[in-house]
Structure formats: structure tokens, C-alpha cells
Amino acid sequence: MEFLGFITLGIFIVLMLLTLFGYIRTPVQTVLVLSTVLCLIVGGVFRFVAYGWDSVVLLPNEFLGGIILHPITALLTGLFLAGGLKASGGFDALKAILGYLRRSPIGLVGTLVILINLPVISSLPCGRILAAALLPLLFTFGFEGGLGILSKSQLIVLIGAFTRNSMGSCGPSPIGGVGQIAEGFLGSFFPTASDGILRAPQAFALMLGTAVVALFLKFVSQKLYPNDVALRNAPEGFDIGKNSETQVKAPIKGFIALAIFVTSLLIAIFQPLGKMPVQSVLVTGALLMILICRIRLNDLLEGIILLPVTAMAAGFLAAGALAATGGFTALASMLNSLVSIKALGVAGMLAIFVQFQTILPLSCARILTAALVPTLYLFGPAQFNFLSWSQLAIVMAAYIINATTSCGPSPLGGGGMMGEGTMRAETGFIKGAYTFASMAVMAPMAAIFMKFLNLSVFQPTDPRFARDIIMIGAFAIAIAGVNVFFIFLGSKIFSPDASKNFWIQLVGFLFSGAIGGGILAFALFELEPTKILQGALGGIIAAALIGLMVPKMLSKRLTATLSGPNV
């Protein structure tokens, strides 16, 4: 039966790679369902031969266990509210409030920084909920949207950074976020882990990563792909400064709807009325909108975006089929065997492992997280003893932030596509920034934060607190500094020669990967040169896989499709 796991894992990976590289061009849901069906057929045959018909009959029940209902229903209810907000004029109300904020001492820049970080502040179980609600609002900040506050370049950075922050905010969410899966496993040792042991490292890394994404979009993406964004610049003579004083008026029911939306979120997060599912709170909010703001049920339904919902469900089906047929056990055993390679060791293997979901970015992080976190757990004292509990917590922090941000760069219906659509960009315009920040900044930063702050025990007389804060600050400056330097350097040396740019970017990715892997190894094993080198090598391999998980050139057929008159 172990053989079966390798076969089904092979089916899944081959189908995903063929889709990523454009050889299979059907919606990702179809590919994932195809993978599920193939795995179940192969699994069914194996089981029939090995255990008989009864075992085959139970196979559907086993793979249905792979479906995680919570994020699907939470996303649907969140989109309901977003639809209600749109119909009742809630976005106009938000615009008006932002107008007041702009004229306050924090000014336009401060307002935008708060807006960009709103997803991680509110931390909903799926980043798409807030993104669906606020991306149309962000678009209005440009010339085409009406407000004319920002130029095209600024709007690209704003939308890209906001989407980055959204597609990762499911990690630190306390209401069924992805990070809670890892916190649950850590609860086996740390009694208060489920109170949110991973939240702070994730939130910190996400904020820092968002800033790096903004720089990447400004200095790399816009330089490399100047024609990829169809947004228009303001015409000559259009005075942005003058126009920014435009007063936005909103209907009173818009303010009420906004108040209901915010109150629902606060009740869902802080649970002042007792423990209750987030879905119930959000649906109650939607009903209140119908009653008070006089919106129709259809308005709520219009807010639903089906792609992420169905892609997520299809991903869970595929993961369930893999789990039922031993595919994930095979994956764990493959990763385990990497440890025996001397050049990699545990540090190198973990440097690859924490980047796994950015290497294979799927439409929802939960698809692989639900399977890989138990594998990671087994690397600790529970089975393989590669890591102590503290070390396991550090790896979990790095892994989870990388995983939760992987829906951003996913070309298979990932959340980043919402941002690309909003800024009228070609698919893939913002994904390079996302993969780079996840790999080079967020994963190592979360590990460092976990090591120096969350796992330290502070006494009033213990001076380590100050020392550890300084250490985190120093690492944040170093990690961000090095990567920002790479971004600036790249922006200076990129040229019109595409193949030269390819190598420049690849080298940049590999360097950043090495640094990320080395820092993870340092966070785990401190100053052990061998381990740090192993971690760096693992980081290079991960970066190469992330960087090259794309076709270097488009296929002839795709090029013809893109450039032909039938586009």
C-alpha cells in the first residue's frame, strides 16, 4: 500500500505541474477533481485487491473527510456582507471616512498605510472577504475611479500591497484561521498555544513583507512590465493635489451598513456575546443590513465570488483523496529521506519544507496545510525527534506564514488575481513580488520573531526582553535591508535584454533563498556553521524551485493566442 501513496502523489503533482506550465488549460477546479477521481480509481483498485470490496465502499467517506467546511462557509458569509456593503453605499461611507482621515494629522500616507494593513488588523478567516469588499474602493483612488488622489504607479503599489496583506491575513486569524491548525498541534506541548502562539510572528512578518512587496512592485514589476497594467494615468493638466480635496458624500444607510459590518467583525473576533461561529455573526449582520438598510437578498448574493469557493472545495477533495490513498504519507517519507543527504541534513530539508507551499502555490493554503502540518508535527518529539518542541514551534511559524501567503501568487485561481483584476493588470504582474517576499522576508522573519519573542520567558528582573527586542529589530533591518538592496540593485541593472534579466532575477532569488534558509537554520540551531550552510543550501534549492516553477518562455500556441487578433 505504500506504493499506492507514491502513485497518487505522482498523479497529483504531475497534473498540478502540467497546469502550472500551461499544458493543461482547464480551470483548476476541473484539474483538481480529475486528480481526485484518478486517485480514487487507483486507490479503489489497490484496495479491492488488498482488502476486498468493503474497503473500497468506504473510500468516498474517507476522501470527503478532506473537506474543511469552515473556510468555505466563512468565505461565503463574508462575501454576503461585502455584497450588502456595496449595495447599501457602505463603500461611499468608507470613502467619506477616509476623506476625513486624510485631512487629519495622519494625512494621506498614514491613511493608506492603515488601509493596506486593514486585513491583518481585522484578521478574517479568508483574505478574500475583505479584499472583495475593499478592492473596488481602492480602485476609486485613481483617476479612472473618480477620486483622482493617486497616480497610476501609486495605485499599482497600493492595490498590490493591500492584496498581499489580505492574502496572508488568514494566518493570524483567531476565528478559524490557517495558523490555528499549527497552533492546535503545538497545543500538544504548549498548553496555551491555541490562544494564539503563532499570531504575532505571522502578523509581524506579514506587515514587513507587505512593505517589501510595495517596493518590489515599484522598482521591479513596473520596470520589467511597463505595459502590463491597463490603468490610465491622469491626463496632463489634471491637478491631483487639487482634486484630492473633493468631498465624498454617502447615504446614511451606507454609514449604518458600514457600522453593522464593523460591529459584526468585532463581535466575531472578540466574541463578547459568548462563543459562536463566525458564520452566525456574519449572517446576522447581513440580515440586519436587509432589515435596516433596505437591501435585497439578491444584493447579498451578488457579492459571492464562486471561483475561490469552488477552487477551495476542489482542493480539499484532491487533498482528501491523497490522504485516503496514502499520498501525504509518501510525501512525508520523501521529505524524511532528504535528511539523510549530508549536504542538506535536517536544516536543509526544513529550509525546503517551509517554502513548499510557495513552490506549489494552490488556490487556498488550507489544501496542503491540513496535510503538511501533521507531517511537520511528526518531525518533532512526537515521532522522528529531529526537533525539540521549541524548534518545532519556530519551524511552524515560518511554515505557516509561507503557506498562508501562497494563495497570493497562485496562478491556479489564487487571491492575488483579484488584485491583478482590480488594477487591470495581466495575470502574473504582481505574483513575482509575492513569491519573493514570502520566501525571502516573511518565512525567516517569522522564525526569528518566534525564537526571540514568543518562546522567551520574561521575568521583571530579566534583561533578556530588551535584548531580544533588539535582536528582532536587528534581524528585521538586516533581512529587509538585504532584500531591499537586491530590489534596488535589480532595478538599476535590468535591461531590455530578456535573457539577461532572467539570469539577474534568478541569481537574486537564489541569494535571497540562501539567506532565508541560513536564517531559519540559525533560528533553529543558533551558531552552528554546518547547519547554517545546510540551511542556506536548502534555501537555494527552494528558491530555485520557486523561481523556476514557471515556463521560461510561453508555448508557441499560447504566444499565438496572446498576440493574435482573436485575443
Binding site: Q180, S188, L224, P551
Partner: protein
């Protein structure tokens, strides 16, 4: 070249060979599915979507019909794992039992010690939603007992459960009977 044969402005940009196409880490143009290119898979897409919706319906409706609706509300956040040694029979992965109850996965339920649960309720206090875990496990235990008696549960699961001490005393007789 006539007006209709001229490539559009967008097309011109896209075919501009001096512009770099795809660079490392940038999933540019990936998942470009022009509808006309996948016309032959339209029916496949429809079947797939039908499959997804059916699976979601089955996952939701089955627990309702079998009287175990609370399993639907589980966040699968695993906060219940913090029960640790407060579980008198040493069950460590309680969320697995909830999922098994929802999906009616007997093997998963037995493998994770569902049949040795004494329904003390210690794990319930760790649930972020305070779901009635003992009640959910009890319903699944009865479902599993019926399945064992009906001969649906594979012998391997039962034998392994017995060998690893995963069968509680109230179920031992039924399991032994089913194996013999």
C-alpha cells in the same frame, strides 16, 4: 494589411519580443484559459463543478441526516489538542474524531482512539466554540458499532485497533465478534 487584420494594441504589446516574457518566480500568463481554447472541456468542467457541489452537499447533509449536525461547525483549528494528558484514555488528536464523525470515516475514528473515548468532556473546554464533543463522539461510536455489527468496517482496522489498545471495553465484545 486591412484594418481588421491589424493586431490590437494589447496584442502588439504582448507580442513585443523586446519585452521580457517570463522571469523566475513570476507566474506571468500562467493559468491563461481563453474560453475558445477549452471548448472541448466544457462538459468536463460542468461535470467537475457538479462533483464539487455534490461533495459539499454530501458533507453537509450527511451529518444532518445522521443526527450529528454539530460536526459541521468544527473549525478544524485543533485547539482541542491542548487537552494533552487531561484526556483519561490518552486520545491526542480529537479533531480527527470530529472529522471522522462528519464524514462517517470508521477507520479514521478507530485509528485515532474514538472507540476508547469515555466521553468525560475534558476536551470540550478547549474547543474555541465549546462544541459538544462528548455527544458528537458518542453518536459516532454508536454509528461505528452498527457498522461493525453489519460487517462494513474492514477487518484490518478492527484487528489493528485491538492490537494497539484502541478499543474501549464497551465495544470489545462487538469487535471480537466481528473479527471472529
Amino acid at each position: 494589411m486591412s484594418e481588421s487584420e491589424k493586431p490590437s494594441q494589447i496584442g502588439k504589446n504582448r507580442s513585443d519580443e523586446s519585452q521580457p516574457l517570463i522571469l523566475p518566480g513570476i507566474h506571468r500568463y500562467q493559468f491563461f484559459t481563453n474560453l475558445k481554447d477549452r471548448g472541448w472541456t466544457l462538459n468536463l468542467d460542468r461535470v467537475a463543478l457538479f462533483g464539487i457541489v455534490s461533495a459539499l452537499l454530501a458533507t453537509t447533509v450527511k451529518p444532518l441526516l445522521r443526527g450529528n449536525p454539530a460536526t459541521i461547525y468544527c473549525y478544524e483549528c485543533r485547539a482541542c489538542y491542548a487537552t494533552q494528558d487531561r484526556c483519561p484514555v490518552g486520545i491526542s488528536l480529537q479533531a480527527e474524531l470530529v472529522v471522522a464523525g462528519r464524514a462517517l470515516d470508521y477507520d479514521r475514528f478507530i485509528r485515532n482512539g474514538g472507540l476508547k473515548c469515555v466521553r468525560c468532556g475534558n476536551c470540550q473546554s478547549f474547543c474555541v466554540q465549546y462544541l459538544p464533543l462528548p455527544r458528537m463522539f458518542e453518536i459516532m461510536q454508536q454509528e461505528t458499532r452498527q457498522a461493525i455489527l453489519a460487517g462494513i468496517v474492514p477487518q484490518e482496522s478492527l484487528i489493528q485497533g485491538l492490537q494497539q489498545g484502541l478499543i474501549g471495553k464497551e465495544f470489545i465484545d462487538d469487535v471480537v465478534k466481528a473479527i471472529s
